[in-house]
């Protein structure tokens, strides 16, 4: 595996291998005082974040450091991007400085794929940490890992993704990955927050506008934040109305089957798409998602950087 750019096209065997590796890493580090593995010693990983992030950036940095890689964080603010340097030049500069792997988050959909093309001659691996509204593959992988932990497997499960699907790269990545791993996915949102042609993303994808009708049928529900920072138009009359119609309130949480799991990629707007009490309830796996995020990202770095270079 040279790059991880998307879950669309990621073959299920590779995805499961990454999840199995993440699980092994979690078990290896369990109870250890020294949370350090020497495997990526001498490898240099640079994160390029052109958008705000708490969990993803910290998660990648911790993942790299726990594998003994040298991790450097570059954020757009305070870098030469402010002087007008292009994405391509920034990437080539970092590759020339010695990066074996570049982890990129960028507001333009397709940015990670472009980067992989520009870095092809240099041999640097690229990990997509979120490109515009397109994909966020490591988020989907950690969501799948969390579902495997809680439900035993993803295969045959019914998972709803509720909220701002239109602007959500998390939704796209999850639809592709969960479907490839055998789950039935149903997207639930007001019509204004669903892209045209969404039902064609993968065969068998279900689309609904009625949260209450779907809740009793689910093994898991993933709540999405309304991405106000990506909205340039009126998508619903008011935040309150959205919250009443689509928010996961305590009453709605009671409609879920007993074993069903609640996921959220974060950050949460407590009281908007999810009630605070639901976010903190035992059926919520939100903090496990974050913990799994580190192990999954360690696994991704392992699969990209530990073995022999492809094509060599």
């Amino acid at each position: 595996m040279k790059h991880l750019l998307s879950t669309d096209g990621l073959d299920p065997a590779t995805a499961l291998a990454i999840l199995d590796t993440a699980d092994s890493l979690k078990k290896t580090l369990l109870g250890r005082e020294v949370r350090k593995l020497p495997t990526l010693r001498g490898r240099t990983v640079i994160t390029m974040f052109y958008e705000n992030s708490t969990r993803t950036r910290a998660s990648f940095e911790i993942a790299g450091k726990w594998m003994s890689a040298d991790v450097v964080n570059v954020s757009a603010a305070g870098s030469s991007v402010g002087k007008g340097e292009s994405l391509r030049d920034t990437a080539l500069t970092l590759a020339a400085a010695g990066a074996d792997c570049v982890i990129v988050r960028h507001p333009a959909s397709g940015a990670a794929h472009r980067l992989a093309g520009w870095l092809a001659d240099v041999g640097t691996s690229v990990v997509n940490a979120g490109d515009g509204t397109h994909e966020h593959p490591t988020q989907a992988l950690l969501d799948a890992a969390t579902l495997r932990d809680r439900l035993g497997s993803v295969d045959g499960k019914r998972v709803a993704i509720v909220g701002d699907v239109l602007h959500s790269r998390v939704a796209r990545s999850n639809v592709h990955l969960l479907t490839a791993l055998g789950a039935q996915v149903v997207l639930v949102a007001p019509p204004t927050l669903l892209p045209v042609g969404v039902a064609d993303w993968v065969p068998g994808l279900e689309v609904s506008h009625d949260v209450d009708a779907e809740l009793p049928t689910l093994d898991a529900v993933m709540m999405l934040r309304v991405q106000a920072e990506r909205m340039h138009g009126g998508f619903f009359p008011s935040a309150k109305e959205y919250s009443i119609a689509y928010g996961l309130s305590e009453a709605r949480a009671r409609m879920l089957p007993g074993h069903a799991v609640v996921l959220h990629p974060g950050p949460m707007l407590r009281g908007m798409e999810i009630a605070a009490a639901v976010a903190d309830s035992p059926r919520s796996a939100i903090t496990e998602q974050v913990a799994n995020g580190v192990h999954v990202r360690m696994a991704v770095l392992y699969h990209l950087l530990a073995g022999e270079e492809e094509g060599s």
Binding site: M1, A17, D20, T21, S24, L25, K27, T28, G31, R32, V34, K36, L37, P38, T39, Y302, H303, A306, G307, E308, E309
Partner: protein, 196 residues
Amino acid sequence: MASRDRGAADPTERRELLSAGDVARTIARMAHQVIEKTALGGSGASPVVLLGIPTRGGPLAARLAAKIEDFAGVQVPFGTLDVTLYRDDLRRKPTRPLGATALPTGGIDDALVILVDDVLFSGRTIRAALDALRDAGRPRAVQLAVLVDRGHRELPIRADYVGKNVPTARSEEVNVLLSETDERDAVLLSRSEPSP
């Protein structure tokens, strides 16, 4: 170490060095040796823990623990220690899947840890195991038990308990089969075709 290249070359001849019965007797003898050397069950003796190195070290450790319990009436905790993340040759091969690490519930601090593996060859796997052990805790001491020692050490490492010494040529391959993973018990010696 013996898991390297398994199945990669079609061996021209495979000779059975140990039959299923031989394997069982060898493990039984090793169990007696462990009991004797560690003074197992005696007063003042450190707790003993067996850690098998995946893949076949795991079942071997479990079998040793079972025999030790039969002979000495002592239950020795056992588990597995995967060394893949500590190997020195990761970048020369395609990405390897990780094996399972499962330390016994009491941990390994202050215990006498006996690493268990099927074949001892260059010693690099054991060196990786010592590195892995170092991050997992602080045993009082570490010993090594192997079913087969085939020589050709590249590091100053030796086993405390050896099932069988098998002098080999470098081009030969020693394969241990265990019913837990391979449908039968045996130790085979094969000469693989050198790659062109």
